[in-house]
């Protein structure tokens, strides 16, 4: 779909003032989303942006798209319902690591296997910020927080291998420390025909660890491109995903070059195929008529 007037990042920025702490990584993420959406050029009213609950889940309100800041962990079911109901829409889902991999973790595999055409952006900061600094599902083992005074005894979830294992056809990672690259992977994710996942290492300035801050990211990050990684190489993508927590790779980790059809397109095909010869809605009770 082409748009007649050119849209800029500003067209996607709403008047709402973010509640985020100064220096929060999510400021960079929303900037990257504005840029990606401007590059894609779909007007805001054709975009539905769904989130759950958490600091990062406030993000739809900071865009001019139709937003749905729903309840904790349920962005994906709602986003899928929207896309199925109206496949013409560009559908984005976003939230934090707790929203996506703890309370809402059960929805991720199913969104993946259905391959609904949407982009899912997780702002992963390894901590619960909104509730003031508890362990999150991606917190490293040993992390001391207000809810783990003696250090976490649990292994973290690895979001990258999690989604790869369930067959996500597009998996990328980014950091606001490299805004152009982040905007680029988000744009690619949105353009990808199917379920596309972007894990953004988005620093929590208030409760996050030193090595998770922008400055540290700048020093640590390794563009996958520079490592010579071929995004169609699933085996190497799995291998690299194992480094989650130690290495900060950025860019496209996996991109299935031959994706299966999206659920929304398959449903549309079925609707078209079955529309002929249906009883009009007002005669539906004839289904039960005795001959």
């Amino acid at each position: 779909m082409t748009s007649l007037c050119t849209l800029t990042a500003k067209d996607f920025k709403s008047d709402l003032k973010p509640i985020w702490c100064p220096g929060c990584g999510d400021f960079g993420v929303v900037q990257a989303i504005y840029r990606a959406l401007a590059a894609i050029g779909r007007p805001p009213h054709q975009i539905a942006f769904v989130s759950g609950i958490g600091c990062s889940s406030r993000i739809p309100g900071y865009t001019t798209a139709y937003g749905f800041n729903s309840v904790h962990g349920r962005a994906l079911p709602i986003a899928q319902g929207i896309k199925i109901a109206n496949p013409e829409l560009l559908v984005l889902a976003a939230g934090g690591d707790g929203d996506g991999f703890s309370i809402g973790g059960g929805h991720v595999p199913h969104a993946i296997r259905r391959n609904v055409d949407l982009a899912y952006i997780v702002m992963d900061n390894q901590i619960y910020g909104l509730t003031k600094g508890q362990l999150s599902p991606t917190s490293p083992r040993g992390l001391r927080t207000v809810s783990s005074a003696f250090g976490s005894l649990e292994n973290p979830v690895n979001p990258l291998s999690y989604v790869l294992a369930y067959g996500a056809p597009f998996v990328a990672q980014g950091t606001p420390a490299d805004l152009p690259a982040l905007a680029a992977v988000i744009e690619q994710a949105i353009r990808y025909p199917g379920f596309a996942f972007v894990n953004v290492q988005s620093p929590c300035v208030t409760y996050g660890e030193e090595e998770q801050q922008i400055k540290a990211h700048k020093a640590r990050m390794k563009p996958l491109e520079s490592l010579g990684h071929d995004p169609s190489d699933l085996v190497n993508a799995f291998r690299l995903a194992q480094d989650y927590g130690t290495e900060l790779y950025t860019g496209v980790l996996y991109r299935n070059p031959d994706p299966s059809p999206t659920l929304d397109s398959l449903m549309r095909e079925r609707q078209q195929k079955m529309s002929e010869g249906a009883l009009p809605r007002e005669r539906i009770l004839e289904l039960f008529a005795q001959s």
Binding site: G67, I78, L285, F288
Partner: protein
């Protein structure tokens, strides 16, 4: 006879339920009304199965009381159904003589049935059809022979059903059917019990509550269903899964109950009419998003087919225990409409109304069906769908989009609702409290205004007298109130009581919540005594009414746990007791005090 109640039980493979289905199909073809309930053991396959069929020349209101005819292919299976298949002194008992039990030694303690026939059902099936599989066809022949039920209709049904299986199978079953008829002719009942012929045979529908609920959704313009399999509501999803695509709609079998309602709410946000269906435990899981629909003011229809609870409870048995859950679940201070159908035909109207209310008030609406209605098949008259109107949500137009204020404070409390794709309608839907523009707020004043708006919009609903059915003597001092499947029992009880000379009336709400105070007040104005009848231990409707309206002191709950359906005669008897005590009180009042 105008009415006949037949109960049959056998092992899973005996085809008892299939015989019941053939019977009601034949009855429908001949113009009878009928109602069939099925009951199974808890096994997935095999085990015991039973069905109750009640036929009548007039519409059948409930499964009835004691059986007129009991058919036992074996006694072990029959007895497992206990109070579901009650044998009494007026029952004709038919059983397979191969059970080896003597007619005077039936395992029916303290009951002396009107007639007992030990019939070699299995042997007749083997001889006539070459297989015991035809036992159910022999039974149909016996029923047709003894009770004059739809002989030609059954035969036509057998032919239609077995046409695919080839001429040999068909001929064998025709012989089995005839052998039953011949047996009945050779062993007539002492006092004949032939059911009256129905009036002019008109075209009938055969349908259960779940299927008609799904059909009502399609009629109402539903375009999306998201749900998760759960007994006894799954058939709603299954029918839509076959039909909804034809209308450009979609069905998503979600990964869990939460995703079921979540996807439906997403579809509603996207501008489509959407529904989810579940039963008690699934309702528990869905409640958070029910609250989200309330605060985001999005239309949504949630069907809760009640079963025995709490928790897993009794998935295949009926109970009216989810009223409090439907009314009060989900956190926060908000109301949502709760409607309940009372029979299969009602389920259509109530579901259409649910979609209309959801759209009109931008709210989730709960349809509180129950297992009994949802899974019983009824033969009903066709429904004239032209008398229903279909309501669409108010969408913003023209100046309302410049700029668009999603939660604008209007006089009615209902604000025009846009949807993604609509230019200029962009807004933020949220579970977070918001101001008129949809911007998140934690301010007390804004919250007070929005809360008031979310209540105010339902004010007209409380004056909807058309969502109540009132029958009987308008000025009666004696009253019944009942809802859901139990209401059908009360309608018959009302007739019995009035035939018995009592002046009594009945109120049946389709709208359970918000409580329409005015409707109850005017109904109760003449009432001195009566009963609120429902299948829940604590009498949830009675307690809800006590909370939101004035219930006369003489009106008391008649309630008990589920899976123990009320019988019309017991309610009529309870009414008689109350009438007597009212008379005594009136008499006492006239006596001069000593």
């Amino acid at each position: 006879m105008r009415d006949l109640v037949i109960g049959m039980a056998g092992s899973g493979g005996d085809g008892i339920v299939s015989a019941g289905e053939s019977l009601i199909a034949a009855c429908a073809a001949e113009g009878y009304h009928a109602l069939m309930t099925k009951s199974f053991g808890s096994q997935i396959r095999g085990g015991e199965s039973s069905c109750r069929v009640r036929l009548g020349v007039a519409p059948v209101l409930n499964p009835g009381g004691a059986l007129d005819v009991a058919v036992a292919l074996n006694w072990d299976d029959f007895l497992k159904f206990g109070s579901e298949l009650p044998v009494a002194g007026n029952t004709v008992v038919v059983y397979d003589s191969a059970t080896g039990i003597a007619p005077d030694a039936l395992p029916l303690e303290g009951i002396d049935p009107a007639a007992v026939f030990a019939v070699p059902i299995g042997e007749m099936a083997r001889k006539s059809a070459g297989t015991e599989k035809a036992k159910n066809t022999v039974v149909l022949g016996l029923l047709a022979g003894w009770f004059g039920i739809a002989r030609d209709g059954i035969l036509r049904g057998i032919r239609k059903k077995l046409a695919k299986k080839g001429p040999e199978v068909l001929a064998a079953n025709e012989r089995a059917f005839q052998s039953g008829i011949d047996y009945a002719a050779a062993h007539p009942l002492d006092s004949p019990r032939t059911i009256d012929r129905p009036g002019q045979a008109t075209k009938k529908l055969i349908v259960d509550g779940n299927d008609i609920c799904a059909a009502a959704a399609i009629f109402s313009g539903c375009d999306f269903f998201g749900g998760y399999p759960i007994t006894p509501s799954t058939e709603v999803m299954q029918l839509l899964g076959r039909e909804l695509w034809k209308y450009g709609g979609a069905v998503l079998q979600a990964e869990d109950e939460i995703a079921g309602i979540g996807s439906a709410l997403g579809a509603s946000f996207a501008g489509k009419k959407a529904m989810t269906a579940t039963s008690g435990p699934g309702m528990s899981l869905k409640t958070e998003i029910l609250g989200l629909a309330s605060i985001a003011e999005l239309p949504l229809v949630l069907v809760d087919v009640q079963r025995g609870g709490p928790s897993t409870g009794m998935p295949t048995k009926s109970e009216q225990g989810d009223l409090f859950q439907a009314v009060f679940s989900a956190n926060g201070d908000v109301i949502r409409p709760v409607l309940a159908p009372t029979c299969v035909a009602d389920t259509f109207a109530v579901t259409v109304e649910a979609f209309n209310l959801a759209e009109r008030y931008q709210t989730p609406v709960v349809v509180l069906s129950d297992q009994e209605i949802a899974q019983r098949k009824e033969v009903i008259d066709p429904i004239d769908t032209s008398r229903f109107t279909i309501v669409e949500r108010v969408r913003p137009r023209g100046a309302e989009l410049e700029p668009y204020v999603r939660f604008r404070q209007t006089e009615s409390g209902v604000s025009p609702l846009s949807h993604p794709g609509m230019k200029g309608g962009n807004y933020l839907a949220a579970g977070i409290e918001h101001n008129e523009r949809g911007e998140p707020t934690a301010g007390g004043a804004a919250h007070a205004k929005m809360t008031e708006k979310r209540f105010r919009k339902f004010a007209p609903l409380k004056t909807r007298e058309d969502l109540f059915r009132i029958e009987g003597d308008p000025n009666a001092r004696l009253a019944l109130v009942s809802w859901g499947s139990t209401a059908g029992v009360c309608r018959e009880a009302l007739r019995l009581a009035r035939a018995d000379g009592l002046s009594v009336k009945l109120l049946v709400p389709w709208l359970l919540y918000p409580v329409a105070d005015g409707v109850y007040r005017s109904f109760f104005a003449s009432v001195k005594g009566g009963l609120v009848v429902e299948q829940s231990y604590q009498g949830q409707l009675y307690r809800l009414l006590k909370m939101f309206t004035d219930v006369p002191a003489g009106v008391q709950p008649l309630c008990r746990a589920g899976a123990n359906p009320f019988r019309p005669t017991e309610i009529a008897a309870a009414l008689r007791d109350i009438a007597l005590s009212l008379q005594r009180q009136a008499g006492d009042a006239r006596q001069p005090q000593e």
